[in-house]
Structure formats: C-alpha cells, structure tokens
Symmetry: C2
Subunit: 266 residues, 2 copies
C-alpha cells in the first residue's frame, strides 16, 4: 500500500499570492491516479529554503513511497528547491558533472554558450542526486532516494514539468505501482437536495465496497437543486472494474428515482 502513496510539493510564492493557479499539482495528481497511485497530500510552500526543507522532512516522516516536487530549479536567486532538498536530506550541495554536461550540450546550440554562474547553479545539486535530462528546457530535473521513498524534483514551467514527468517518472510509476485499472463516471441529479439523497447514498456505498462514491453539490438551476455524483473503481482488470462500477451506477440511479429526483450519466 505504502508504495502507492504519493505526495506532491509545489514550490513558489506566486502560487500563494493568487497570482498563479496551481495547475501543475492538478495535472500530476491526475497522471499519478491514472497510473494506479494514490495522492495523499499536496503542499504549496514559499520560495524559502527552510520552508522547502521542513515540508520535505514532514513529507518523509509521513512515509509515502514517492515525493514529487515542482518549481524552483531555475538559474535565479529565488530558485531554492535544490538547496532545500539538500538541507532536508543533510547532504552537501556539489557541482554535478553529469548535469554540467547536460547544460553544456544545451547551451552549445545557442548564441550564448558560456556556462556562467547562474547556469552552473542549475547543475549544483545535493551530493547524491541523479540529474534527469529536461527534454524541452535547460534546468535538469533531479531524482533521489531516501529509504524506501523516491523523490523527484521537477521544473515549475508547465511544459518542462510535463515533459520531464512523461519521460522519467511515468514509466517508473507504471512499472512499480501500475497493477490496477481505474475507471470512473459521473451522474447528474436534479430535483433532489444533497441532504435528502444522503441516506440513500450511504446504502449504495455500503453495498458497493469496491466503488468510491462522492456527491458534489452544483448549486441550483432554475430553482432546482443540482448534484454531481462521482463513482470510481479500481480493479485488476478493466472488465472487473466495469462490472463493479455498472452495479453501483444502477443502484445509485434507482436511489435517486426513489428519492424523487431525476438522474442522467454525464
């Protein structure tokens, strides 16, 4: 079980001022869930070494199998994630020769190839870090191990984060935890309040232990209460998951009708 648990740490003041919406964590959570993992927690922290380090330490103490960090790998002063990671793990920051090679090959193609101090900073990593090539940007990503936990540190620029995830993380996740197929569907109900459907929901949940069911109120349309009910199931095969899910959907639809509401799959 523990090896399926994933924590996500997003680094960046812009995510804490309302300047930038945290689409990175949302995208990573979807990828992890679809690959058979369970995201246990997401934390957003400021660009401060102590904040980054303490969040990583707290996350390690919670014993997830994976920690996926994004943001703070760039060349500027406020890119502090690798310093926070080094502090959390009690490792020195050192120049990583493999990462230097990656940067050399990238900048060699530009009109400005010199490895200046800000560029060298992107190759300065915790002593035991493994650099991961960034397919679309400059800053290398990082992989590290601590006990049975694997830590990945990705860039915050969404296109770079996604490219690194697809190349270096997804294949590993699928190999290590991708034993289950997950499918989901949603129902939209009208004309029945959440407080009225609640006891019916409890019964459908009790008779479908393999299916995760959750209601989301969507307010009122033309004075009539609208709810979305999300149903999801994981099983060892798509056919088995589908059988579990169809049974729960049938019972849920019947319950809504019994409670005086209307229902459709969306």
């Amino acid at each position: 079980m523990r090896k399926r648990l994933v924590e996500i740490i997003s680094v960046g003041n812009e995510l804490l001022t309302g300047h930038t919406l945290n689409t990175n964590a949302h995208w990573i959570a979807k990828q992890v869930t679809d690959a058979g993992g369970i995201v246990k927690k997401v934390t957003i922290v400021r660009d401060e070494i102590n904040e980054i380090a303490s969040s990583i330490r707290e996350s390690l103490n919670r014993k997830s199998g994976w920690i996926i960090i994004s943001g703070g790998l760039g060349p500027t002063y406020d890119d502090k994630t690798l310093r926070g990671l080094a502090e959390a793990l009690g490792q020195k920051l050192v120049l990583n020769e493999e990462a230097v090679g990656m940067l050399e090959r990238k900048y060699r193609k530009t009109s400005n190839p010199m490895l200046t101090a800000p560029r060298i900073k992107m190759a300065t990593m915790p002593a035991k870090a493994t650099p991961l090539e960034n397919p679309v940007g400059h800053a290398p990503a990082v992989m590290m191990k601590r006990g049975s936990c694997t830590i990945f540190s990705l860039p915050g620029v969404p296109t770079e984060m996604m490219a690194v995830f697809a190349k270096h993380i997804l294949p590993v996740l699928k190999r290590k935890i991708g034993k289950l197929v997950r499918i989901e569907t949603s129902l939209e109900t009208t004309n029945v309040m959440e407080s009225v459907i609640a006891p019916y929901l409890d019964r459908v949940i009790a008779s479908n232990p393999k299916v995760y069911i959750k209601s989301h109120p969507r307010g009122y349309s033309k004075g009539v209460s609208v709810l979305h009910i999300n149903l999801a199931c994981e099983a060892s095969s798509r056919k088995l998951a589908s059988n579990y899910l169809r049974k729960a959907v049938r019972e849920m639809k019947q319950s809504v009708t019994d409670a005086g509401g209307k229902v459709k799959e969306i």
Copy 2:
C-alpha cells in the same frame, strides 16, 4: 508579523485525484494577499478524519495567525471536516443550537422542511465552535479560536465559500491586518534568457529592498525566449508603494535593455 500569516487547508479527495482543480485556495490566497495578509502554506488533504486532524495540528504548530479551511461541511458521510477539527482541538462534537436555528430557517422555506439526520449533522460541531450563517447555501460555516490563532471552516462549493468569506472573514482580516497597501505589475521581456538576466535581476533586487521581484520563464515564441517578471510592493500608502514600484520597474527595464533584450509592461 505572525498575525499576518495565513494557512489554507483544502479538504477533498476530488482535489487529489485530478478530478477538480483547486480554484478555492487560489481565490482565497488572492483575497488574503490583497487584504494585507501573507499566505504561508496551502495543504490539500483527503476526506479522512485523521488526515484532517493532523493537518490542522501541524498548521497550529507552525503558529500562523489564521487557518482557513474549505470543504467537507455538507450532509453526507464523507463530509468530515468538523469531526477532524474537533479531534485536532480535543473537543467533543455537540449539537450547536444556533446552527440548528440557521438550518431550520433555511429548510422551512423548502417543500421538505424536516431536520433529518443528515441535516442535523451539519449543525453538529466542536463544542466551542461559533457557527457563521451561509448566505447562499445550507451548511453553516464555523469560526474557532486556539490561542492567538483564528480558525475558519468554510464550505467547499465555490459560490458558498466565496459568500461566507466575503461576509464573515474579509471584514475581520481587513480590520486586523489590513494596514498595508499592496500593488503589483509585470514586465514581459523577449530575446533574453533567464540565465542571462539573472545577475541583472540580483542587482535590481538588491537596490530595491521594498519590492518583491520574481522572474517566470514563459518558454519560446518564434524561437525567442519569453520571460515574465512580476514586481510587487507593500507600503503604508498607495503613493509610497507606487514610488517604490516605479523605481524598481525603471531599473528593471534598463537592465533588460543592457542585457540585449526587449521589454514592455503587461
């Protein structure tokens, strides 16, 4: 300083599966920042009592002035925030008569006015909770104190969360911490890589200690590197903040030009 620090805790499995984007925390962060607060951390946790309780306890230990929780106040089984909050504070869950009155008045207007068990659940709160009327939905919000920290627990439905925030939280925040005016602007630079601008950025930051400056790579447009540089300033008056900000913008523009790039305010 501590009284300006705010932590946000978002509760809901749907935020951890990639099903729902966490727009609530983003919106709250913007409101808090504009009101003069500093969001120190955002945490997203699953709909599990222990997870909710331990996140609230960790947050209290970090000594923020405010904790704003959203999600998990509804009538269904998986709405567990108040149980988590009671556990975190070591208080019993009790029926809150004032909250019962709020629900009675709301449901009296519907075709289905009875206070059934799922509705009573929404009035079952930690012993020392103060219920806050929900202007657009049913579930009352909650305010609690622990030492010098004020905890608010809001519904997760965005329209309800925003209405409760506007009515009950924003006026309090403005009165307690709204002594500073915050303004910001952004520059877009082209034709200069972040690793090239980095040392110029350091100098502008050093000579403008009142201004927060951060660069955000925006990838490439027609083969040319694009950066956004966000500049923000807080001061006791708009005029003072504007003076600080204009000086930093002038220096930043000159630096980009010196580094061979083009720049405009966006």
